[in-house]
Symmetry: C4
Subunit: 274 residues, 4 copies
Amino acid sequence: MNRKNSLKHKLYTIIFEAETPAGKAFDVVLLVLILSSVLVVSLESVAGLRHDYLPYFISLEWGFTLLFTIEYLLRIYATPKPIKYIFSFFGLVDLLSIIPTYLSLLIIGSQYLLVVRVLRLLRVARIFKLTRFINEGQQLSSALRASVTKIIVFISTVLTLVVIIGSVMYIIEGEASGFTSIPTSIYWAIVTLTTVGYGDIAPATALGQILASFVMIMGYGIIAVPTGIVTVELSKSAREQATTRVCANCHQEGHPLQANYCYNCGYELPDQKS
Amino acid sequence: MNRKNSLKHKLYTIIFEAETPAGKAFDVVLLVLILSSVLVVSLESVAGLRHDYLPYFISLEWGFTLLFTIEYLLRIYATPKPIKYIFSFFGLVDLLSIIPTYLSLLIIGSQYLLVVRVLRLLRVARIFKLTRFINEGQQLSSALRASVTKIIVFISTVLTLVVIIGSVMYIIEGEASGFTSIPTSIYWAIVTLTTVGYGDIAPATALGQILASFVMIMGYGIIAVPTGIVTVELSKSAREQATTRVCANCHQEGHPLQANYCYNCGYELPDQKS
Amino acid sequence: MNRKNSLKHKLYTIIFEAETPAGKAFDVVLLVLILSSVLVVSLESVAGLRHDYLPYFISLEWGFTLLFTIEYLLRIYATPKPIKYIFSFFGLVDLLSIIPTYLSLLIIGSQYLLVVRVLRLLRVARIFKLTRFINEGQQLSSALRASVTKIIVFISTVLTLVVIIGSVMYIIEGEASGFTSIPTSIYWAIVTLTTVGYGDIAPATALGQILASFVMIMGYGIIAVPTGIVTVELSKSAREQATTRVCANCHQEGHPLQANYCYNCGYELPDQKS
Amino acid sequence: MNRKNSLKHKLYTIIFEAETPAGKAFDVVLLVLILSSVLVVSLESVAGLRHDYLPYFISLEWGFTLLFTIEYLLRIYATPKPIKYIFSFFGLVDLLSIIPTYLSLLIIGSQYLLVVRVLRLLRVARIFKLTRFINEGQQLSSALRASVTKIIVFISTVLTLVVIIGSVMYIIEGEASGFTSIPTSIYWAIVTLTTVGYGDIAPATALGQILASFVMIMGYGIIAVPTGIVTVELSKSAREQATTRVCANCHQEGHPLQANYCYNCGYELPDQKS
């Protein structure tokens, strides 16, 4: 029992952690396998290559899937809380990374869903000891999260706008220029407002082009809003990061550079420059 | 008389407010009706669906319109100031949401204007108790309003530019490449400067491509201006929000929201929440 | 002599200034004439309209040109320094606004250059008494001027990049996909880096699409640079505007909000909040 | 021996420096030669011109290459540390600027690689005595370098996104709309997320257009991130440049460049320029 537990613990250290040499080696192998398997799935979808090398692709795919299945089962075995692991984000990604191959026996084409394996790279990112990268990522995502209500308000406004613009363009342009229905026209409005501009649908009448010009110039201003929101949040978090003076009395952080006294307890702060 | 008034008041509470359970239920039903009716109008415009299900679409449309008409009349009845309501923003939107159906008896195609109903969602937004969202929306729109003169100057400059660029391109490219007239060329200039770039009209001569390259690189700088304006305004309003507390002792401004003591003189700050 | 001078002065007040009722009326008439004449030139270029209404267009054009010629001669007569006026920016624009019509007798099509008249609107902008607008415009253009060296460095980098990218794409893609020469490929690189993306030329080979993907993701970062430059300059000028405290001793402006003493002469500043 | 050394030194001053009149003249000649040779390579690739003037192009190319080869050999001769020069950035660029012509005897088309000569302009930039430009360039590139981890995190996120989006679109749209393989679909996802939008590949099914709309609106937010990062870094470096003076009496930081006295305690500040 004790021996089994120690094996379990050893496995856990290798599979889930990256501090030991064995754990590091495991992660490097996993990284290579994930990248190779995504590459194989991508290349299989190229008609010319599929025609010539289909048997090889299928063998490789099943090989990767078997390896990942074994890894998945070992993870369930090694973790002390299997249920929690299975329903965690990484547990679901690990499962989704193997299901499509088995599913492809029933549904042709489902193997292309295997690219979801690319999400597993997030797990392997640990091996780079990229705490600095993770910090930056958290800073970015916290900046985005801080502005989430602003972004929801913004996207609601944009969606209301494109529904109205799309419908008006449908009435003005009609089916001759490709505005075949209101949903299609709404799609055109999104393509235009975001300045993507495929050109598969484009206004052909004078009135439609005038309205489109208004939409584009409006899009100028609209594209500025998310940029402004994100910039302000990022600059806020950068400023907070810059002011890391700590009060010796109450350990409160984040004092402005010009502060003389702790704003939390009123204790005098040490001089910045001495 | 009193009973009638109390009925009127009850109706008012249900229709115009969202605090009572009945008022909340009314708003939820309204939300569903509005979204469904906009969806029905959109789907009706798809040729395949219109061909197969036209009678259903027409029935649904008239159903929604009758419900909204009853709601409109009840609103006029319930409000203490009917005239003010009718000519308010929401009153006009409510009216515009029912007129196109009646108009479609006379003018074919006018029912597509019913998508204006999407604006009614603004009214129903209340049910989410989204005061936080409304605050954010006000912050965004006040940032935009604060920079309205800058934006007018900017748009005037852009319009002057596109008129001149469009005319020069019309002379250089001519009708062979799709620059069929000065207004069309101005439309092309707007499509290019805003980086939408449909490609339905594109320069084909060497000289035209050189000029277009200049326009695009200029567009780089030009698209930066509204972004800069909005960012500065947003950051100003964010800073103002953060720094409106003043020390009663030394009049130092700019205390963080969580501060208890002035960082300049150490004096206790008044409590933020009282 | 005196009478002639007083007539000259009166003319000067009407034509060059906008404070008197006559001066204002003159500017309003001029505004309408300029907008109408640009509209006529634009509409004349539309093939359908030119075919039907050519005589009217030609009459209107000559009418406007004669009026503007008279105005130009009166301006030369009325101004105390005619030479300075003729070679000033506005003097040259005024001249360029009438020459193309006369030129069109010799060179067909040159009348389209008349749209340069749109620049004359700058002169008429005065009548709106838009000092606030002019201030904002100056703020914008001073922000752009302050960052002119940064922008030159940036554009040189972009130009070096597009020459190299364009040549490599020419070698990779060749003439089959529309990359017919190095200048054309450089044009494509500019279209792509600026995210305009017409799609008249697009990579078709796998290698070309991989390189194009790199260019586009690089373009992400590159388009951020001018925006960053302009935002920083605008925010700097906004901050300077915000700090308009004046020293009572030396009249130095621009003291920070938290300042206690004038940074120029050391004199104590009046308390901000009392 | 001494005489030889003095010749070597004189050559070094002329070729590597730009302070003497001879050195300046050398750089101006070099600038003209580089620009002309890049122009010749570009024009040679235009089919019409190549057909008519091929012998002239070849002569000019060999002429430029011989001149640059002589220059390269002189540089190796004149520099005191030839090995260090050969493997320096500029040494490699100088070599790459002459190799393609010799290579074109063996491999047809390799002469187009000569555009790499455009990089030599970096060297000649000195003659403008553009220390101010170099400062600005350093400021820009240090701002970019400071945010390099943030940008790597960002690009990794974007690459993960486009792999998943591309695969899903491949399954939804299939080969009919141009999504012929997963790599092609990933290319489409990059074209769309970066708002380039060629339109050579565009979704045609309703489901594909809905997904594409999500991608574009997401792209709105995503394009805001690099802009935010660069803006914050640029504004940080601008702020640091402005505020590095410290009061010797009260250690207050953040004095404007033109300040003579500390704004906090009124103490005289040390002179900025000594």
